[in-house]
């Protein structure tokens, strides 16, 4: 296995997997606690429209997707915050429209030679040095913003109304969170693809949620699950010769099942002595 790391493509894949795991583990923490998972689906699917615009205009597709997804995320936020539409309705309209735009633009282009399958389902082994720089830049911006605004974002996730009443700039914070989410989604497209990116955002944090009693441990577990699953998935996919993105998601699902079982076992262990104690007291 060590000799595999001698290959440049494998080194780049590993670095990309760790960076994306870190990003999605951190952002997923807020996605699960603030219940934004449907927004994650909307943003990831709308990224296809951005990729198509990038292809047509001759711009780096992931860069175009980053800009386009951020705009879509802001529009979803604006429509739902202004009370014009329910959030899920806004997401439903925007993500299908953006996806349709992507398909229409790609079909109009007579000369496209883009690996669409790679964007839809990920191709971590094809990560280039340029992709790594883009990923590193996105990771620095997103992790920096989340780190500096962590206490405000946690308050926002727990109790938005009181956060607003306390004078926190709730709407700008929400848009910062949406922007970070859009950037993380775009970063993860190379690894697991548009269709499966939601798994990296939701499953690691959901696994952490099953086991953690405090937010710090949930955050650590979320990041650890995301990073570990990308590394395991990468090597398993290589040895079994199956798609890396799908393998990473399957590893994530497996880790989630383990976390679910451990969480249930722990809660049962905590509750049982209390029940026994209550019964003992009830006996005269």
């Amino acid at each position: 296995m060590i000799e595999l790391l001698g290959y440049g493509f494998m080194q780049r894949a590993l670095i990309a997997g760790i960076l994306v795991g870190l990003l999605c583990g951190v952002l997923g923490f807020f996605v699960v606690l603030k219940r934004l998972s449907f927004i994650g689906v909307g943003i990831s699917h709308s990224a296809f429209g951005g990729i198509a615009i990038g292809v047509i205009c001759g711009v780096e597709p992931l860069l175009a997707a980053a800009v386009f997804s951020t705009l879509v995320a802001w529009t979803i936020g604006w429509l739902s915050k202004k009370g014009r539409l329910h959030e899920d309705t806004a997401i439903g309209i925007l993500f299908s429209s953006a996806m349709a735009l992507g398909v229409a633009l790609i079909s109009l282009s007579s000369t496209y030679q883009v690996d669409l399958f790679g964007y839809l389902f990920g191709n971590i082994l094809a990560v280039s040095a340029g992709d790594l720089w883009l990923l590193g830049g996105i990771a620095a911006v997103v992790l920096g913003a989340v780190g500096l605004l962590f206490k405000e974002l946690l308050f926002l996730a727990f109790d938005e109304e009181v956060a607003r009443a306390n004078g926190l700039p709730v709407t700008p914070l929400y848009f910062v969170l949406l922007s970070c989410l859009a950037l993380a989604v775009v970063a993860a497209i190379r690894v697991v693809g548009i269709v499966l990116v939601e798994a990296l955002l939701v499953i690691p944090a959901a696994a952490g949620y099953q086991l953690a009693r405090g937010y710090r441990s949930m955050l650590c577990l979320s990041v650890a699950t995301a990073v570990l699953s990308t590394i395991i998935g990468l090597f398993v996919s290589y040895f079994l010769n199956i798609a890396a993105g799908a393998t990473i998601v399957l590893v994530l699902a497996l880790l989630f099942v383990v976390a679910l079982a451990l969480g249930r076992a722990r809660r049962t262990a905590i509750v049982r002595p209390v029940v026994v104690h209550e019964r003992a007291r009830a006996v005269p």
């Binding site: 206490k151 727990f158 109790d159 009443a165 004078g167 926190l168 949620y209 953690a212 009693r213």
Partner: protein, 259 residues
């Protein structure tokens, strides 16, 4: 009545939501240190009034002044207003401890991009102790009883140099002893911290027994005065559009015993 400048004042306040009048011609002022109870039937606009005082809703007409300024211009001064909402429908498994929740109340004092320092943690500990939850710091919020959770939210509202405390039906869903404990705690904190308290509640008797003044609204101000006057008034019955047999002599006595 205190002769100091009012800490909260509304003059000709009106709020329209989607062109529908929710509040109109609301007039009242309260002196620092007062405990004001806001009562009124369902849909009377009590929570809307509280949200105007918090700066969450802008008045359509009239003026409101809180701590000498318009609520929308309080900015970071908003931390001097503590807010305890209706019992939260929050996820009981949200992974935060009591001290994490109370620390959220320091967020506005700290400002953006700043991390809590030792002094902030000390203030959090003080607030937790003030509401009688010392020893609960590391307990998860969802593991506490309803009454204990409300005390945590009270501690969060108090840990930022709070001068004005607003409570929106904070006793809803609590059993009678827990309600009584919460009001007794409010009275003690009010004395110790020199707080002004504005509480919205449907419990006329309990609120009447603890507040210095009651204001009854149903869209507009029906009556504002001491609890005995308000509870005995025909304006209260007009606002609720019913008679109150439950306002017994005992309840009136309790209200009358207030200084």
């Amino acid at each position: 009545m205190n002769s100091a400048a009012p800490i909260v004042e509304a003059r000709g306040l009106a709020v329209d939501i989607d062109a529908h009048p929710v509040l109109w011609d609301i007039n009242f002022s309260i002196a620092p240190g007062t405990f004001l109870g806001i009562i009124g039937p369902n849909g009377a606009g009590k929570t809307t009034l509280l949200r105007v005082l918090l700066g969450l809703i802008a008045p359509s007409r009239g003026t409101v002044s809180v701590l000498g300024r318009s609520p929308s211009q309080l900015g970071r001064g908003a931390h001097q207003i503590g807010y305890v909402p209706q019992r939260l429908d929050f996820d009981p498994r949200f992974p935060v401890s009591v001290q994490d929740v109370v620390m959220m109340g320091r967020a506005c004092c700290l400002g953006l991009f700043r991390f809590p320092q030792r002094d902030d943690w000390r203030k959090v500990q003080d607030s937790i102790r003030q509401v009688g939850l010392a020893g609960y710091e590391s307990r998860r919020i969802g593991d506490l009883s309803g009454g204990e959770q409300q005390r945590v939210f009270l501690a969060r509202a108090l840990c930022s140099q709070t001068r004005l405390l607003l409570l929106d039906e904070a006793t809803t869903g609590l059993d009678l002893p827990a309600q009584h404990e919460l009001y007794a705690l409010l009275q003690r904190l009010r004395r110790e911290m020199d707080l002004t308290v504005i509480a919205v509640s449907h419990d006329l008797l309990e609120l009447g027994a603890h507040a210095d003044e009651l204001i009854c609204i149903n869209g507009t101000t029906h009556i504002h005065g001491n609890p005995r006057t308000v509870l005995d008034s025909h304006q209260l019955r007009e606002a609720y559009r019913c008679e109150f047999d439950f306002l017994s002599d005992e309840a009136r006595e309790s209200a009358a015993q207030r200084p």
